[in-house]
Symmetry: C2
Subunit: 446 residues, 2 copies
């Protein structure tokens, strides 16, 4: 491997004015400006690693500060040494004896960890000249598992077990890789039903995505039950009952409220209710799951799950029927891999959260690795897809016939175009300066 | 009430070089520099509110950034309006539709919320001319409960139930206030057994605190079982078996490891094992609690518990026998009050975490309110006490005969002395500049 040393990190606050079109609106997030903390790790040999964590606008400046503060823990390190014991580097970032107090392993500091860790994986994949999914697939079971810190999850899975699972599922890997390259990986769309969209727009979008080959559709619910019923009916009228329909409440409800509300939507044959309540409420989700089971409705959550310990409990408590890992949250790729292992062991399919900025770009790699090397199947699994903000990436997603086609360029698909950075860096990018001048957004006060 | 408007906030990063003496060292935090993000809320009438959240040194700069970012949500507000609907202000701080993504309600953004909220309570108490505990005691049940946001906890307690509990426990309030003013509130000491202390120092400190009237002692464990056994034996030799001994692992263990390790310490009659594993692992704590119950050892945790939803589950799952609220964590006083109500309803005594910087100063107010107005008892309850960093406060704790004596000055005891701020503001304070110059600590790189 390239004998490079990490010399610097460039950290940027990028924000896109998505709230102007109500894109991404839901019961809790009424005006998101899809944003990210973007980290470029620089080496002394010219290789760069591009990583990011997703945010919703305000507060990104806090995450970028955390990225800068955490970066000192990897600065000066040799890349060979990092990748030969990646779990230790991950632990160094998450368990610094002073910094861990402001987490630990949650919130801002863990989002920043994800951005840095994701940049390190992008760097590794670029050095190897492979897209990340292929790098993961080609690692030996021992190499792959060596990147995971098993702290706090050994009561569910150990390092040795993880290696054994990979080995026993290795048969058929080459065949599955061929299938993947040919057919891609199935996607569902959330784009038909953002909260702020009109009925007419929802209807038109359902038709559009049906024509594009989609067979699974997700819609936002949770503010008004009558409106939710009306909207579900509208969508079912367009997509019929052979296609899948999922609903997403984005944490709006109390536990009992969630149960009552979702039962009222059961007639629309709901595959899953996503984020019915607080992302931290394992026992609450378990209760909701048990109550909705007779109605054939599963519970899904994960996009705001804090870390592997929370995922562990959601899985242990049978609180989720669908495990929604998010590529920009928890501590980046290393920790997400541990969730895939726990989910497989406890029999829960992973259906990743995506959308936002860069989430689709990243998470496809992980799910493709899972298909080829770990679970070996896409049955009962699907990746969220939203057709927005892809134009800002050098290697955007390529979705054909409602399937993510495997990335071919080296890296984690996380490198922004120079032009997009110049326009959307906050608050000094050209587009923002223009919007401030036009009064479309207020200028930030210090 | 004073008709004031909030005009500004001064946010400071204060750090104390406690690592130089190994004070505060434990199995996970080997070199803490006790620190805080300190927020001074300024009004147009001269009243100020002083609030803080505790940190361990590095990373405080991230929390101060978050304080600045969140402050815009209270700037310009009228104080009358704030205190007449404090729960709404609390929710505005914790549920901003863009900012909540970087939490929600956990980690850096929630620590910053705590600092601001604590400053608002200090301001209120100063305006009323009362110490905080007395302000809380004097609020009507409806007023007190109106400060709490019950989102995500109504499956355990509702607003109406909380009011009813306060009303039914009101009898004897005046009598209990007299008892409190006379006798104070019982404390235990952690100061006999920081991880980095020598045996001789431990022995001497045990003798010292025995002489000061202490009857409960806590010691750090978790790095080396033999050493832990040796240390527990040493302490029991000095304090005997009539006094209480607690041990604290500061999250070092896996679930199964915790069970095995603590069983080996059972002979020393351990009252509680504190933080045996990840602070997020409700189900893990429940398992440890069940396994240690036959040995008469309770599980205690809470100082890194993220929010009321996590406390709710620790209580629901019977995972803790002692509920350790922390005055600088979760979202400040309002959210901590909700934990007191849940703990009382589910029959778990609150034994607050303290120490650090300002934690003793703050938490005594809350526990004293609980004694007078809520639980009405100090049975099986005790506040942690560490005799360090009190000299920096204008109204430091007053511990007599191992009891916290009730504060009398208006406020939340959170105002730092000007001199301490001038010396320990990081990195420009006089003391830090001196230590950089002397090479005691390296100068921070940007």
């Amino acid at each position: 491997m390239e004998n490079a040393t990490i010399t610097d990190a460039i950290v940027k606050d990028l924000r896109f004015p998505t709230s102007l079109n109500a894109d991404g609106t839901d019961a809790m997030h009424t005006d998101p400006n899809y944003s990210c903390a973007y980290v470029i790790i620089v080496t002394n040999t010219g290789f760069e690693g591009h990583g990011m964590t997703f945010t919703l606008g305000r507060g990104t400046e806090v995450v970028t500060q955390a990225c800068k503060s955490l970066f000192r823990l990897v600065k000066g390190r040799n890349v060979k040494e990092i990748y030969s014991d990646f779990a230790s580097v991950w632990r160094a970032l998450t368990s610094d004896s002073q910094m861990r107090w402001i987490g630990p392993e949650k919130g801002v500091s863990h989002l920043a960890t994800a951005a840095i860790i994701n940049a390190l994986w992008d760097l590794w994949a670029r050095i190897e000249g492979k897209p990340l999914w292929k790098l993961l697939v080609d690692l030996t079971p021992e190499q792959l598992v060596s990147t995971i810190d098993f702290r706090y999850i050994t009561d569910v899975i150990t390092k040795d077990e993880a290696v054994a699972i990979l080995k026993s599922n290795a048969q058929g890997k080459e065949e599955r890789e061929k299938v993947l390259l040919k057919k891609g990986y199935p996607a569902y769309t959330t784009q038909v039903g953002w909260m702020g969209y009109s009925d007419e727009k929802v209807k038109d979008l359902c038709k559009k995505y049906l024509e594009l080959g989609f067979t699974a559709f997700k819609v936002k619910v949770g503010i008004n039950l009558k409106e939710d019923i009306k909207r579900c009916r509208l969508i079912r009228e367009v997509i019929g009952y052979k296609n899948k329909l999922m609903v997403d409440a984005n944490q709006i409800w109390e536990v009992e409220e969630a149960i009552d509300w979702v039962k009222r939507l059961a007639e629309f044959k709901i595959t899953w209710i996503e984020e019915p309540t607080s992302p931290d409420d394992v026992l609450g989700h378990a209760r909701i799951a048990a109550e909705l089971e007779p109605y054939g409705i599963g519970v899904a959550t994960g996009e705001m799950c804090a870390n592997r310990v929370m995922f562990k409990q959601l899985l242990q408590a049978r609180a989720i029927k669908y495990c929604q890992i998010d590529s920009a949250r928890i501590g980046g790729v290393n920790e997400i891999l541990s969730v895939y292992f726990m989910a497989l062991k406890l029999g829960v399919p992973v259906c990743p959260h995506a959308g936002g900025v860069g989430l689709c770009e990243m998470v496809q790699h992980l799910q493709m690795w899972d298909f080829v090397a770990l679970s070996g199947t896409s049955e009962n699994r699907v990746i969220e897809y939203v057709d927005q903000q892809h134009e800002h990436f050098e290697d955007p997603t390529n979705v054909q016939n409602a399937h993510y086609m495997p990335p071919t360029a080296p890296g984690y698909s996380t490198k922004f175009k120079k032009q997009s950075v110049a326009e959307y860096e906050y608050p000094n990018g050209v587009a923002w300066q223009h919007m401030f001048k036009e009064g479309i957004f207020p200028e930030p006060v210090d």
